[in-house]
Symmetry: C2
């Protein structure tokens, strides 16, 4: 998606360790008018897939998921990174390692909000190693729900996550795919 690619090239910054900083428009300050356009694009791509629920993970996926969900007229379920006192014990749990933060989190959703009748679209801001996405797929599988697609804002195509999840048989649509970030320059896939 040209508009997004231009924004990444113009406004993204490369930090040490191949971290792409897009916190000026995606995951700290959120350019909601841009996110609305991304949400409409996800809807165009998945509108015929019979989506019943959007699944994402806190925190930076939530805004994109909610904006996208309004075009599908479905609710959003966001997975939480630790069991908090106001979630019941009745949760599905998976473990997700964070590439950026070098941590491993327990990630949970309440069993009552995910079920075998659900057709799930997973939405997230980044796909790199694929850990968050594979964790969310695992949560959906535990519930017997069907993951019908994954909508990603930015895929780092030089990291293995995208290939891994596609080879598992899932449809992954990334609105921008980065080929490399060498010498301080961001290059998109063709």
């Amino acid at each position: 998606m040209k508009l997004l690619e231009d924004a990444i090239i113009k406004r993204g910054k490369i930090l040490e360790g191949n971290v792409l900083k897009v916190d000026g428009f995606i995951n700290h300050l959120i350019d909601v008018s841009l996110i609305c356009k991304l949400g409409k694009e996800f809807h165009r791509l998945f509108k015929d897939s019979g989506i019943t629920k959007i699944l994402t993970i806190e925190a930076s996926g939530i805004g994109i998921a909610c904006i996208t969900a309004q075009y599908f007229n479905v609710p959003v379920l966001f997975a939480k990174k630790s069991k908090s006192s106001n979630i019941s014990n009745d949760v599905y749990t998976t473990q997700v390692a964070s590439f950026t933060h070098k941590t491993v989190n327990n990630v949970v959703v309440s069993k009552e909000y995910l079920s075998s009748g659900d057709r799930i679209l997973i939405i997230d801001d980044f796909l790199a190693e694929g850990n968050a996405l594979i964790g969310l797929i695992d949560l959906a599988k535990q519930a017997g729900a069907e993951v019908v697609g994954c909508g990603i804002v930015i895929e780092k195509a030089f990291q293995p996550g995208g290939d891994k999840v596609r080879s598992m048989g899932y449809r992954v649509e990334s609105l921008a795919r980065i080929a490399n970030m060498q010498d301080g320059k961001i290059t998109m896939c063709d």
Copy 2:
């Protein structure tokens, strides 16, 4: 707001320690079509206030803030709960105690995204003790930004936060105000 009050009475659950569980439609599973109506109501209330930015706190404020922001055509800035004690010089920091989780978090925003020209609407899902709201006001003040209002989904009016923030001179609009939650029954303010 009648629609929201009805949803809280019908779908909310009271947990031990005066915790109101609304994770079936507000802060775990998110009823986005309901949130859109709340966002439109916040816009009706604050549309003449010259808002330039919506400020919220991760995680459960983000969805409501993003949905609301599209009606104002402004960006959202969400404050991050930082676990690390070594905060960089590039952020404004405040401390927020959580009523639900019994923890104290450092809460930060990048200095570059909040400035003295900003007219801030703070959006959050809950107002009880007022700690998160007062923390967000503190962050805005550090930046020299003006807080022109606070839009809250659910105020527990039997806890002191709302009165505290109003007595500081801020306009606080809560879409549902709970008078008490005694004997397992939720009663709204008149």
